[in-house]
């Protein structure tokens, strides 16, 4: 179940886990990107958290709209427009709804995924955050549950992939054997959702 309060708890948990993992995320980004993913995400979630605290949103939809605008304006890397578009799409899907069922959460995540695919002109198998989002959304839709072990499994599956999108694509074969930082931070987003909304 997801309502305004749960969504705020989710965003709070996501902010904390990004802070805890920011060095790790930047380290993952070092060999196949520009080594700033963790610090960029940290800047974004901190801005989101400040915005949520200074002007508390009145509706569920507004929570994600505020997060989207903060990430778009503060991340400074490709993750900003990608996560930002995902949250904007999720906010649009929610509309006037104040409580989402598990099925609706799945549809909301699918809308987020569609936003990332359109914004990044990307699809699965290219070693990006989509390789976490798409299988996770599909698993959730088919089974009605998600757990941290499955999320970790999808994140790890990006390791042997060869990147064909994003900065890592410039490395070709040499991108193989590195876990994708965007899929990893997306994994953190999903795991904090599983905990706060009780999806397991």
């Amino acid at each position: 179940m997801l309502d305004r309060q749960t969504a705020l708890s989710w965003m709070d948990a996501f902010t904390n886990t990004i802070e805890e993992n920011k060095t790790h995320l930047s380290k993952l980004d070092n060999p196949i990107g520009d080594g700033d993913h963790g610090h960029n995400m940290s800047r974004g979630v901190k801005a989101a958290s400040e915005a949520l605290n200074s002007t508390p949103p009145n509706t569920l939809s507004e929570v994600f709209k505020t997060v989207a605008m903060s990430l778009i304006s503060k991340v400074g890397g490709a993750a900003g427009p990608l996560y930002g578009t995902a949250f904007l799409n999720m906010s649009k899907y929610i509309g006037d709804n104040e409580t989402l069922s598990k099925e609706q959460i799945a549809s909301m995540l699918e809308e987020g995924l569609n936003g990332i695919k359109t914004r990044g002109k990307a699809t699965t198998g290219e070693k990006t955050m989509i390789d976490l989002w798409e299988p996770a959304v599909n698993h959730f839709k088919e089974n009605g549950t998600l757990d941290a072990r499955i999320i970790d499994d999808y994140v790890e599956k990006t390791n042997p992939m060869k990147a064909t999108k994003g900065r890592a694509a410039y490395l070709g074969e040499r991108s193989i054997g590195h876990t994708d930082p965007g899929a990893t931070s997306s994994g953190l987003l999903f795991k904090t959702l599983i905990d706060t909304a009780g999806l397991s």
Binding site: N40, I72, G76, A78, R119
Partner: protein
């Protein structure tokens, strides 16, 4: 009037490129967005929006360097009423060609004809 927007991960890159373009093109509208809001390496959605708003041209040709520059540019264009074309041409050479043509008073058809063979980015 035609104009140019330059978007890059560093401020130095777009400032330098603008100086180069103004040398050949004279007084054409060129606005820039380089680096993050904090002046770090990266791109800023807000700086791109400002560069669009500050540019007085009706037709704007946009040039960008890497990844997030394009994604942020896409978003800013969607939210703007102006006519902006992401040229997907080489950052320096493409901008130089278009600046020269605008400076020489070329029309949009001529600019397009000269841009088409030097578009190199396929995303």
């Amino acid at each position: 009037m035609n104009g140019i927007i330059l978007v890059s991960h560093t401020r130095g890159m777009v400032e330098g490129l603008r100086a180069l373009l103004l040398e050949v093109a004279g007084d054409i509208p060129i606005t820039i967005a380089g680096g993050t809001d904090e002046g770090d390496v990266g791109t800023s959605f807000e700086k791109i929006q400002n560069a669009i708003n500050e540019n007085p041209a009706d037709m704007i040709y946009a040039f960008h360097d890497l990844g997030s520059a394009k994604l942020n540019l896409d978003m800013a264009i969607e939210m703007s009423d102006k006519t902006i074309e992401i040229t997907n041409a080489a950052f320096v050479e493409g901008a130089y060609v278009v600046a020269s043509l605008i400076g020489a008073g070329a029309d949009q058809d001529t600019i397009k004809k000269n841009l088409d063979p030097i578009r190199i980015k396929n995303t």
